[in-house]
């Protein structure tokens, strides 16, 4: 069995999750505390990947980043970045596609905190940034964990977006879900089964871990 697709899948999920975490904390903070009028629009945009068929997203990304189009050409010429049929493109698409899975838990974590915690910290002379790192984030650890794991697992499972923008290039864009499709197409069921089993077992373990940690089972077991 070729391990490369599996390796690529986890590399993609890992990189995507890191980027998502960095992007989602400020975004979720803004969504949770801002009173801006454009908030509903941003909220809608963040949630779009939940309802949009992945192929639609992939299709538009493909069009936008194609070097034969203005924007794609600009990226290519000025930044040397080609986002179609490349690993970078996969990362970009995955970040957009998994965005709500990271933003929503963090946002609801922030909103569920008592507002007086924030205010108490301000009254003690602490800046917004100090408050974010010392008070807010440590108190929403379960939400952060949920966001990280959901985004990671969701990226492992994506298919439509990856196929549209990445295609099926071994070692570059051929992730496990595509490899499974590929093997089935060529009636190679046993290889497809190996990939599938591994993905199934891994995602099951990851989710189980989250529920155990967030449910407090670990702590109870420890004491």
């Amino acid at each position: 069995m070729d391990w490369e697709p599996l390796f690529l899948t986890f590399k993609l999920a890992f990189v995507t999750t890191i980027i998502l975490l960095l992007v989602s904390i400020p975004l979720a903070y803004w969504l949770a505390f801002s009173k801006s009028k454009i908030k509903p629009i941003i909220e809608t945009l963040v949630s779009m990947p939940l309802v949009l068929p992945p192929t639609v997203l992939g299709f538009y990304l493909l069009i936008a980043f194609s070097p034969s189009n203005g924007f794609g050409q600009w990226l290519d010429e000025w930044l040397g970045l080609r986002l179609v049929f490349s690993f970078e493109g996969l990362v970009f698409a995955s970040v957009i596609y998994s965005l709500p899975f990271m933003v929503h838990p963090i946002q609801s974590g922030f909103s569920n905190l008592s507002k007086s915690l924030l205010e108490a910290s301000y009254m003690l002379g602490k800046s917004k940034l100090t408050t974010l790192f010392k008070i807010l984030l440590p108190n929403i650890k379960p939400s952060l964990l949920t966001g990280i794991v959901l985004a990671f697992a969701h990226t492992i499972g994506e298919f439509g977006v990856v196929l549209m923008i990445g295609g099926n290039m071994p070692g570059v864009t051929k992730v496990a879900s595509i490899a499974i499709y590929d093997e089935v197409e060529s009636l190679n069921y046993s290889a497809a089964n190996s990939y599938s089993l591994i993905l199934f077992a891994l995602t099951f373990s990851i989710l189980l871990l989250v529920y155990i940690v967030n449910g407090g089972y670990l702590k109870r077991f420890w004491k």
């Binding site: 008592s114 007086s116 915690l117 205010e119 108490a120 910290s121 301000y122 009254m123 003690l124 002379g125 602490k126 800046s127 010392k134 008070i135 440590p138 108190n139």
Partner: protein, 291 residues
Amino acid sequence: MIEIFLQKKLNSSSGDMLLDFKTEIETGQFVTLYGKSGAGKTSTLRIIAGLLRPDLGKISIHGNILLDSSQKINLPPQKRKIGFVFQDYALFPNMTIFENLSFALHKNQSKKILDELIEIMEIGDLRNQKPYRLSGGQQQRVAVARALVQKPELLLLDEPLSALDEEMRSKIQKYILEVHREYSLTTILISHDLAEVLKMSDHVLVLDHGKIIQKGHPLEIFSNEKMSGNFQITGEIVSIINQNEQLILTILIGKEIAKIVVNKNENPYLSLGDNVVISSPSFQPTIKKLN
């Protein structure tokens, strides 16, 4: 001297209301804001703290301007040197009690103040506990201590005792009075408990529909005429029995219940739940020694 003037339109459950608040508070005074819920007490406190922006206002402490809408000055809460104790205590759940207190320190502030406050509030045993393990009264003591770490010029207490039982309440009242004197604080307390107002404050502001309707010494405000030479107790009417020309009142005084008979014609407006002052001439009281 603390000068406060503020105006803000508030949307309360009973419709729009204009909060229009103007007063001066002398340094070192213990002031209570008294009034029904929805009268604008908490909003007033939040505006003073800088957590809420008024439509119009001017606030200064010892001449330092915190807020002046005509000059577009509005210092953020971080720069106001005000201690605030929240109704829900707002202790940081991720930190131990000691960490909660030391988080409040200024950058270069000495840690001496922490030990001092821990001693006054008697929370030494709780140092390494997380807040969720503490009772309401213990959390309250920590919250007061934390608000005092930075030695604020003004201490604001937003109904800090309403969720506590009678015994704990009077204990915390004692602690608050003690730090008020120890640190020569100027303190503003929100309360809708008459007994608390009488016990704690030198000065009371009665707020109704966003306006101060009465101000002065609590005893003068809450008893209609000055009754010097008389002793008085406050209590709450828990039952009224109408009998001929007389009313038999059952009054809850602290934890005790007393039955008192009064003339109906002289007291036509009494109703259930009223807070009342019971007074008696001092020259003919019955006194019995307790064992």
